[in-house]
């Protein structure tokens, strides 16, 4: 470990300046105008659904839960309804993407994200503070010299942790929802788990957004908005990745069975959303007033 860091500090810091010339290998039409395919519409939709659902649930969750926001807004039923409907919409969107989207692309992306090789381990090791100079991290340019595939090791770690957090959010959120009614289901750590997932998730998302908007990685932003990145950027930051110039498209269109399942998912999600809202607002047919016998309310006598 220490040796790695030393090697990085002495051997690579100056070797590759950030402005290293691009060497596009694919789709080299002319100069830097060439772009390569990075994310298909399925992955971009999945990212948009995941990201916007996170933001909506973070905002409403904080209003529900942060003391000063809860006191300022105080509209708990509305916040809870938005929070829970967003959760249903999020899960529905994930299911629909898996059913109707480009499954080949999703499988490839998952494979790209979950596999780590020696370069990834080295990349991560060099992100850690050096033991020689505590608190000092190597400049990005030094780390960037370790060749990375379609995703760098940091992006992989981020995705793995976010995927795990998603499961933990769903489990703890469901238990919180059920536990309000039935306190037997109020496990000691339900709230703590939802809290920790929120804190870790928020820090990761803040870092993710910061990296995505930072000037050095600005070209990568096009990958998740338009689907393509400059070929030069891909060659510099992801040299072990062999991208194709255009979206190869889905291997096969989704069949009748999957489309039928998608309809079922939509029906279930809409039904769940309606039930949740009715549940939170009590519906219109429920008794709104206490069933105090009228005679008791009109007792005569001095008041």
């Amino acid at each position: 470990m220490a040796g790695d860091a030393r090697a990085a500090a002495t051997g690579t810091a100056g070797a590759h300046a950030p402005a290293r010339p691009a060497r596009p290998r694919v789709g080299h039409v002319g100069a830097d105008a060439a772009t390569v395919h990075r994310f298909g519409s399925t992955e971009r939709l999945l990212h948009a659904a995941h990201g916007s659902a996170f933001m909506v649930m973070l905002a409403t969750g904080l209003v529900l839960y942060l003391p000063f926001l809860a006191q300022t807004v105080s509209a708990r039923p509305l916040m809870k309804a938005v929070h829970l409907v967003a959760a249903v919409a999020w899960l529905g969107a994930l299911a629909l993407t898996a059913l109707l989207g480009d499954r080949r692309a999703l499988r490839q992306t998952r494979r790209d994200l979950e596999r780590f090789d020696a370069d990834d381990r080295l990349w991560l090791a060099r992100r850690l503070p050096s033991r020689k100079a505590p608190g000092m991290r190597l400049p990005v340019s030094a780390v960037g010299s370790i060749p990375q595939g379609r995703f760098n090791a940091g992006q992989k770690v981020h995705s793995v942790v976010q995927a795990a957090l998603s499961v933990l959010f769903v489990v703890s959120g469901t238990l919180l929802w059920l536990g309000e009614r039935n306190t037997d289901l109020r496990l000691p750590g339900t709230l703590a788990l939802h809290d920790m997932a929120m804190l870790v998730g928020s820090v990761l998302v803040a870092g993710h957004v910061y990296m995505a908007l930072g000037p050095e990685h600005r070209p990568s932003l096009e990958g998740i908005t338009k689907g393509t990145v400059p070929a030069g950027y891909a060659a510099t930051h992801h040299p072990k990745w062999t991208p194709s110039p255009t979206d190869p498209g889905p291997s096969s269109p989704s069949g009748l069975g999957r489309r039928a399942l998608a309809v079922i998912v939509v029906v279930i999600a809409l039904g769940a959303a309606v039930l949740l809202v009715r549940d939170i607002y009590g519906g219109d047919d429920g008794p709104r007033q206490p069933t105090v016998p009228v005679t008791h309310l009109t007792t005569p006598g001095p008041v």
Binding site: K156, D184, P188, A197, G282, V292, L297, T299
Partner: protein
């Protein structure tokens, strides 16, 4: 060392991420058992920071105040009356001054919300229900109290037996200050053994009945006897 491992790697790496994912999920789920204790420690440690700052800490021991029909009712203690009616020999309407003249009780108790948060060691000042009801004289058929809030349609009830618990009271002061509007001014029900929704705020009427009636949250499926007991990590 690194190159040794690299030799055994398949060309596109090993699916370490999948194992890490499963490990994180499994590890995270164990916190369902220990998370409550950890949060209790974290929450208590936030008591060292000022309340204003604490209100910005997610796991802090701050009040999260909800209303079912915002904004909070604004009741003027000068004109406010607490009506006590129903199965009583002498229905009455107490003024705020009347209430302050009744025997005063003090207690320090923990407050638990059914949504999961808690505030420890809240100091309440108020009137025990036995003292409150003494003048109105509940009839022999009286079994329960229905608390009606100025925040329509919020109501809840306690049986007389529950209301006579040694730590149940009608509070008019919290932490040695008169109750503030967000906390239910001028008076609220305090029932520390049960979740907070049983403690009706902005109270303006107590109706004595022959049975406990469904309150606002019970009409929505919540427990009527919302005892905290062992739940909520306590």
């Amino acid at each position: 060392m690194v190159s040794d491992v690299a030799d055994s790697d398949p060309p596109d790496g090993r699916p370490v991420g999948r194992r890490a994912f499963l490990g994180l999920v499994a590890g995270g789920l164990t916190s369902l058992v220990w998370g409550g204790a950890a949060m209790d420690v974290a929450g208590k440690s936030t008591m060292l920071v000022p309340e204003g700052l604490r209100a910005a800490i997610p796991f802090g021991q701050g009040w999260r105040i909800y209303a079912v029909n915002p904004p909070y009712p604004r009741l003027d203690p000068a004109t406010w009356r607490l009506r006590i009616d129903g199965l009583v020999a002498r229905p009455m309407a107490l003024t705020y001054a009347d209430l302050l003249r009744l025997p005063r009780a003090r207690q320090t108790s923990d407050f638990h919300c059914v949504t999961g948060w808690s505030v420890d060691d809240v100091r309440w000042t108020g009137v025990r229900f036995s003292d409150l009801l003494a003048a109105a004289r509940p009839l022999p058929s009286a079994r329960a109290l229905t608390f009606i809030s100025a925040e329509d349609p919020y109501v809840d009830s306690l049986t007389l037996k529950q209301a006579m618990a040694p730590d149940a009271m009608l509070a008019h002061a919290m932490d040695d200050e008169p109750l503030t509007r967000p906390h239910g001014a001028p008076v609220r029900v305090v029932m520390p053994q049960m979740y907070g929704y049983k403690g009706v705020k902005w109270l303006n009427r107590i109706t004595v009945t022959d049975r406990a009636v469904d309150g606002y949250w019970q009409q929505r499926g919540y427990d009527r006897d919302a005892y905290v007991e062992g739940s909520n990590g306590r």
